[in-house]
């Protein structure tokens, strides 16, 4: 009996020491200097084999782990193997929309290292996603807004937004943003812009979409008309020494066959201060 009690007491005492030591050790913070958790990161081939047909679940587990892992980092720390990890997740499940979006977001947050390298990694990740999910206008749109707002690269933003606008199911908003950005960077001729907006107007089904697209089409036509009509105002001023009060005066001088009207059939005006064409957009929004 006493031997049993002695054994029990010894087990309890040793167990208590082990538990107490363990608790004290847990309280000592240890930095993951070498990125230990990442040292044994397997290759996609091995993970694919080990998943026995559940690569999607494997990608989920790795994705959830990566979010927890990288949320421990301060922004000015080196984000160890970040691109490798998200490459692995997207190799396992190439259609994992969130992995591209969140991976790019985490890459853009880090402040340590060369921003150009971070940008290149983001572009690689998005390009991989856009190749892997060729029907997703959503991913192309997310990539385009990131390029616009985070990477400050308008050319890239326009390229990805074009991709979004051309993909099946893209809503009118995306098509309008693409057209607007393309207009803003003068990325096409005014004739191409008009042809694009006419297409967007023709495709629009809801009244607000038709109106908004018509507004952009109107602006493009005004730009085209301005190129033709503003030089006539300059000619008029050279001949008469003053700016015409109306387009009728320009017609009477023989510079124009008839008073010009805008895309919506309303007459153009003339700004006396700058002596330039004035367009008054009148679209019924109700």
């Amino acid at each position: 009996m006493s031997r049993r009690l002695l054994t029990l007491a010894a087990v309890l005492a040793l167990g208590s020491i082990a538990v107490l030591c363990g608790k004290r050790l847990e309280a000592i913070p240890r930095a993951d200097v070498l990125g230990k958790q990442l040292l044994y990161l397997p290759t996609p081939e091995i993970l694919r084999l080990a998943s026995l047909g559940n690569q999607g679940l494997m990608a989920d587990l790795l994705y959830v782990w990566s979010i927890q892992y990288y949320s421990q980092f301060a922004l000015d720390e080196k984000f160890l193997y970040l691109e490798t990890v998200f490459d692995l997740v997207t190799d396992l499940d190439p259609q994992y929309f969130d992995a591209y979006r969140v991976g790019a977001m985490i890459m853009s947050l880090q402040k340590y290292g060369d921003p150009a390298e971070h940008k290149a990694a983001i572009v690689r990740l998005y390009d991989k996603g856009l190749r892997s999910i060729p029907d997703s206008w959503e991913l192309a749109e997310v990539a385009a807004w990131d390029a616009h707002l985070v990477l400050n690269d308008r050319e890239l933003a326009v390229r990805w937004m074009k991709m979004a606008a051309e993909r099946p199911g893209a809503p009118p908003e995306v098509k309008r943003v693409y057209g607007r950005w393309r207009d803003d960077i003068h990325g096409w001729t005014i004739e191409d812009s008009i042809a694009y907006w006419e297409e967007v107007v023709a495709e629009a089904k809801r009244k607000p979409d038709v109106n908004l697209a018509t507004s952009h089409l109107y602006d493009s036509y005004v730009t085209l008309d301005r190129r033709r009509l503003d030089p006539l105002l300059v000619q008029f001023r050279q001949r008469t020494g003053k700016c015409p009060g109306s387009w009728q005066e320009v017609v009477e001088r023989g510079l124009l066959a008839e008073a010009p009207i805008d895309y919506l059939g309303n007459p153009y005006g003339i700004d006396p201060a700058s002596c330039a064409l004035v367009a008054r957009k009148r679209i019924r929004w109700d």
Partner: protein
């Protein structure tokens, strides 16, 4: 046919008495708990995680039933000597074996149906959507399990229960990695390895052909031709394995 149905019915009832449906309860608890947990941990579409987890769970738990039950398929009848009683009646050996197979498959199917119902309920409650694609993915898992159960039946006839379990598990693993191994051998320059792997790849079952989980989770279209071919592949392979099992069982000395 009545003999086959009677044996299948009996095998099914026996499985239910063995509390096999507890696995379904285990699945339900795991899925409900992990769905909530993953919902908290993930960023973005938690629906994908829930569906991935649910379909993987269904496949894993049904595979467990097919593998574990195969141990008892024939050996229990021999040990308890009930097989002699049955075979003295106007029941042929192949009828006995097919009845056993169908009973086991019915158990697998019932569990799979209950687990799928839980998964659908979880998606409706957590995500507010009824994804009919999950039913299709579950049906394909059932087809995979029909083939695996056929292998379990063959091994139950061919070898001892423990070895049968190991062999059935091996078929499950090989069936899922054979395609990858075939792809990986493209990088091997040895003259002998590739033809050998090619021969094995052609003969061994490719269980990845029944794997439509990613397509369903990502809502990617699947052609009806591919589905029809998959069903034909599964049924033909299953029938072939069962014919082999029946042939071996006919020649087996049960004394």
């Amino acid at each position: 046919m009545r003999a086959v149905a009677a044996i299948a019915h009996n095998t099914f009832r026996e499985a239910l008495r063995d509390r096999v449906l507890y696995l379904f309860l285990g699945f339900a608890v795991v899925l409900l708990a992990s769905s909530k947990l993953f919902g908290l941990l993930t960023v973005g579409d938690e629906g994908k995680v829930i569906k991935d987890l649910g379909l993987a769970g269904i496949q894993f738990f049904t595979m467990l039933i097919a593998v574990m039950m195969s141990v008892l398929l024939i050996s229990r009848e021999v040990d308890s000597r009930t097989i002699y009683n049955i075979l003295t009646k106007p029941v042929r050996r192949w009828q006995f074996l097919i009845g056993k197979y169908l009973g086991l498959l019915a158990t697998v199917a019932l569990n799979l149906a209950l687990m799928t119902a839980v998964l659908l309920a979880v998606t409706v409650v957590y995500l507010g959507e009824f994804d009919a694609g999950l039913l299709f993915a579950a049906a394909m898992i059932l087809l995979e399990m029909a083939l695996l159960t056929a292998f379990a039946t063959l091994f139950a006839v061919l070898t001892r229960p423990m070895l049968g379990t190991v062999f059935t598990l091996a078929v499950f693993v090989i069936g899922h990695v054979s395609e990858d191994i075939w792809v990986l051998t493209k990088h091997v320059n040895s003259g002998l390895v590739r033809p050998l792997v090619a021969a094995l790849y052609a003969v061994l079952p490719n269980l990845e052909r029944f794997n439509f989980k990613s397509e369903v989770v990502h809502d990617v279209g699947i052609s009806s031709g591919e589905v029809a071919l998959t069903v034909a592949y599964g049924l033909a392979y299953t029938a072939m394995v069962l014919v082999l099992a029946c042939a071996r069982f006919r020649a087996r000395d049960l004394v």
